[in-house]
């Protein structure tokens, strides 16, 4: 089943398939094999998509209780519909909502937050493409829902240690809003049926 959250104008469609039977070459004897496919809006997937797929896959592997479904395959397909900045955190949010929607057993939820550091030091959350380009550094975090710990971190541009800690704190605060959004969406979906 597909799901698509969108901060601003960035939107990503997530489709989750599984746990299904895995090919012999890909199956793992003690856990589910997770695969992530990221398709850009235009063009063929390249090295950047592969590296993002690795980030998303390892983040999802950390929360999905794969040991409950050994020798199966879980495939997550993400299609970028439009990109207006903060693409990686949109993909993370889409992935988590997809996992929720599919009803897979998870140890915690996670959400993606992107922070951009302006040349003068102000922190901008969920930057647009323009803000990302003008920023000195862009940091993306995946925050987990249990204790607001960092599941995934990736940075672009350079920043000091203190600035990174400040961005992390801001991201952890912003995570609360996103988790509330998850809660509201799920409530809306199940209250109708």
């Amino acid at each position: 089943p597909p799901s698509s959250p969108c901060p601003g104008d960035t939107s990503v469609l997530a489709g989750l398939y599984g746990p299904a039977e895995a090919k012999l070459s890909k199956e793992l004897p003690d856990r589910a094999a997770l695969e992530v496919l990221l398709r850009p809006k235009v063009g063929l997937p390249g090295v950047l998509e592969r590296s993002r797929e690795q980030l998303l896959r390892q983040t999802c592997e950390a929360v999905v209780l794969g040991v409950l479904h050994p020798r199966t395959a879980i495939t997550l397909v993400l299609q970028v519909l439009s990109d207006a900045g903060s693409l990686l955190s949109c993909c993370l949010n889409a992935a988590c909502m997809g996992l929720l929607d599919a009803g897979l057993p998870l140890s915690s939820l996670f959400c993606g937050v992107t922070c951009a550091l302006d040349p003068d030091g102000t922190i901008v959350l969920d930057p647009t493409t323009r803000q990302e380009q003008e920023a000195r550094a862009v940091l993306s975090f995946a925050i987990d829902s249990r204790e607001r710990k960092v599941l995934m971190a990736t940075t672009k541009g350079s920043c000091s240690m203190e600035e990174m800690q400040q961005c992390l704190a801001a991201a952890q605060r912003a995570a609360d809003t996103i988790f509330q959004f998850y809660r509201d969406s799920v409530r809306r979906r199940y209250s109708k049926s």
């Binding site: 592969r50 390892q58 710990k149 940075t155 672009k156």
Partner: protein
């Protein structure tokens, strides 16, 4: 007998050591393997710059070749740096021959990001004639022996190889418009920043060990790589999923990375001084 235990229950075997705050190969949790670095005089003679780096058993060689090309239309004063990480099947049984796998592609992207983020080579320095001619640096990083911690070794090899590059001087003949390369006159590349990567493996959601070997990487529940430059600024924090970490633990990693940077910088300076002709 311990070898049987190690094969059958590797995680339990490791846990026994980690409880005593040390690892099976005798290192402390925060200790790196012996790092050695060899420069161009022994490595690749056909490349413009090269270096071989060994981090314990992990061996990575980097060759840099410089070619000429026309700059892109929208950035007429910028050259190109194209890194490529290859994990051939000879370095480990986990890699098959064929198109680059996910790990190689993710590593290539990581190296490209490190070069970009740290600004170690400013692309404007690679430009020879605005809009007409610029250098393209093809950096090929090939792993010869994979025993964990590929990213640290690759970044170190890249840095060492780039420090070794000697670019011939190029002039554009006014009349014919063609470029003339003077191989006799060589200038070294201008390297502005020296990024150094430090990788950690997370065990059982709590313990952090530095410089994981191949076996430790397989058993770990997550990895973190921090790239710092000489001013203590963070060029990259790369934590691709895995167990969650608190901000404080991340802070510890960063402090350790800064200390490691100083050690590596000293090593590079020592090796360069030893090969510079007097």
């Amino acid at each position: 007998l311990s070898i049987c235990f190690r094969t059958v229950e590797p995680l339990e075997y490791y846990r026994r050591f980690l409880k005593e705050n040390c690892r099976p190969d005798g290192r402390e949790l925060g200790e790196f393997r012996a790092t050695t670095c060899f420069f161009s005089s022994g490595s690749i003679t056909t490349a413009d710059g090269s270096a071989l780096v060994k981090l314990g058993n992990t061996t990575v060689i980097c060759g840099v070749k410089a070619e000429l090309a026309a700059p892109a239309a929208d950035s007429a004063n910028k050259g190109y740096i194209v890194p490529n990480v290859e994990l051939p099947s000879l370095c480990s049984e986990r890699f098959r021959s064929g198109p680059p796998g996910e790990e190689a592609q993710a590593a290539s992207q990581f190296i490209a990001d490190v070069i970009e983020n740290s600004q170690m080579i400013v692309k404007e320095d690679l430009c020879i004639a605005n809009g007409k001619l610029a250098w393209v640096l093809y950096c090929d990083i090939i792993c010869l022996d994979y025993d964990g911690n590929l990213l640290d070794a690759s970044v170190f090899a890249l840095l060492a190889a780039l420090k070794n590059v000697q670019l011939p001087s190029v002039t554009i003949n006014e009349e014919t418009g063609l470029s003339e390369v003077n191989l006799k006159q060589k200038t070294p590349l201008i390297i502005r920043k020296h990024p150094v990567a430090t990788s950690f493996a997370i065990f059982d959601d709590t313990l952090l060990i530095v410089d994981p070997t191949g076996e430790e990487e397989d058993l770990a529940t997550g990895t973190v790589t921090i790239v710092t430059d000489e001013e203590g600024r963070l060029c990259s924090v790369h934590k691709p999923g895995g167990s969650p970490l608190t901000g404080a633990k991340l802070q510890d990693c960063i402090t350790r990375a800064i200390t490691r940077h100083k050690e590596v910088k000293k090593l590079i300076d020592k090796v360069i001084k030893s090969i510079t002709p007097k």
